[in-house]
Symmetry: C2
Subunit: 348 residues, 2 copies
Amino acid sequence: MREKGADLARPTVHDIAKEAGVSLATVDRVLNARPGVRAKTIARVNDAVSRLGYVRDTYAANLARQRQYRFAFLLPESSSQFANALQEALQEAYSSNVADRTELKVIRVPSQDPHAIVRTLKSMNTSRLDGLAMMVPETPQVRDAVSRLKDSGLAVVTLVSDLPNSRRDFFVGVNSIAAGRTAGLLMGRFVRGPGEILVVTDSLQSRDSLERRLGFDAVISREFRSITALPTLESYGDLARLQRIVETAVAARRDLVGVYSMGSGNMTLMSALRGSGRLGELDVLVHELTPAMRCALQDNEVTAVIAQNVGHLVRSALRVLRNVCDHRPIYEAQERVRIEVVLRENLP
Amino acid sequence: MREKGADLARPTVHDIAKEAGVSLATVDRVLNARPGVRAKTIARVNDAVSRLGYVRDTYAANLARQRQYRFAFLLPESSSQFANALQEALQEAYSSNVADRTELKVIRVPSQDPHAIVRTLKSMNTSRLDGLAMMVPETPQVRDAVSRLKDSGLAVVTLVSDLPNSRRDFFVGVNSIAAGRTAGLLMGRFVRGPGEILVVTDSLQSRDSLERRLGFDAVISREFRSITALPTLESYGDLARLQRIVETAVAARRDLVGVYSMGSGNMTLMSALRGSGRLGELDVLVHELTPAMRCALQDNEVTAVIAQNVGHLVRSALRVLRNVCDHRPIYEAQERVRIEVVLRENLP
DNA sequence: TTGTATGCGTTATCAT
DNA sequence: ATGATAACGCATACAA
């Protein structure tokens, strides 16, 4: 990895200064694009930089700069197993990253309540914050609130669920259409014989669910003609309702071969399916690897889980927030979060 | 993530010194378990540490220490697409890690030739090296060579393929039995109707292949009685031979429903299958997501790829090497590499 | 057994 | 427009 013939030790700002025949301060000014340097001197320094192959030591830089990143994560209220996993991952990233000079704060909000979300966003003390990562449903009010946060200079990334027409700096999460297509392909290949697929979610108002459904249908209708995906059942976040509509649907549909759950509430879904006594004949696909779904996989109750790695999500969000704060570019390729397929045998 | 009521800035060694009423040097001695401090003083310092919640800034420490890790990676010769991907991942980890004070060197050896491997290991200048990560087949001579390297104080990790009874410090890679089981489950669920599965690899002498086969058979024989996994075909690293034996087998077996390739040479395998004209009726499963297999997935020639993330592999290897060098513990959970299932729709 | 002083690579504040 | 110098948090050679 080291250039041929290069000196053993990496060049420092001192080496650059010597090579360019200027002082440390001037090198620093050029390196950090600060004003007050003649074009000619800039060129001399840049020459020295490329000649010696200098790369800045980020950690030393942050040490000297006494930089402190203050980030907040806005997550759905604590009833969500997925959000809990995210928070745990955040805690872990924090402990292994303490040296990264990053202060983290987690805020939980009732995700069903757009008003509460906006209130939280508005009440945020933006002067004590450098960046915000948020996982919230898309509403015009939230988009407006994001706009105000951007006006006050915050770095804003959307997490898991995007706000496409807002002023957020970046989206960290998977492509929901591709995730839905993956589910469609798995379902099509897994189920035996012709039949119907039950599709369930919280609400198709949620862009994620809508896109997953689009991807799912695209693959099923194009490649698996013998199976039919039924119209989406929506629980509207009401677990009792979820239980009821699933029970009704399973009882009514004799040709059911599979169930695709695009949203949350999978513990309730599973208990409804168990109650029907037909779980054994069904292939069940869900999103997000929660503790309950781990068990369901091990018990052969769920065939596959489409997941995104929460560790990657938070690390990516942190990297992006830091880069935005420092006006540095984002390497999109590195921030692309994978769609994971988890089966009983490759459970992490 | 921040304790309630804690001061805004993180405590430093200075704070500890003040709190404990000792000097910086004494704090350092206690923190780094150096000798020459009275038990009573040690206790005082440790008290201050826990009272203030001090955590050392690793980067500042490494900066002061002028620590340079010098690691080498021993990989199979350049004909292997997988090894190339590993080397690229290494290059990337290096560029984004330059500040981690780590020097990297990649050595390619003909993996078929145990003698060449041992020669390379013996010729290594251990005084200019702190650690070695190696991906080589298991032989007694290699195990002995590892023993000598350990004697000379090197940190040694095995990568992808383990040397279980050697003195290596750690193995970074996936559990081959679990990978084989995952393949078995996928194959069993994917193929239609009863039939036979062709199983191919370089050589069952390789522990990985053997274990993959064990896992594969365990799942197939227990859960998918209607399909039969045929005896393993071995290519012995000879692509012409691979082509020949696959062509012969496909021609002879009329009930073939799937092909499971546990080893390398998948481009040749695919061309043999294509030539047979029966690729359309077969489910093909392979290991490792090489460029060729990406295309094969997209063209529906391969159903699924069981992969390990090369980025994770190298980052994990680097973390482990650094920890071993510094006599720090290894967090096994963090170093567990996942078995990834890649389909056409979730190609990264 | 303990303390002082200096340096690591970078940034930033003061002079000049 | 440029340079000298002092931090940042930690380690360490040397002095006491």
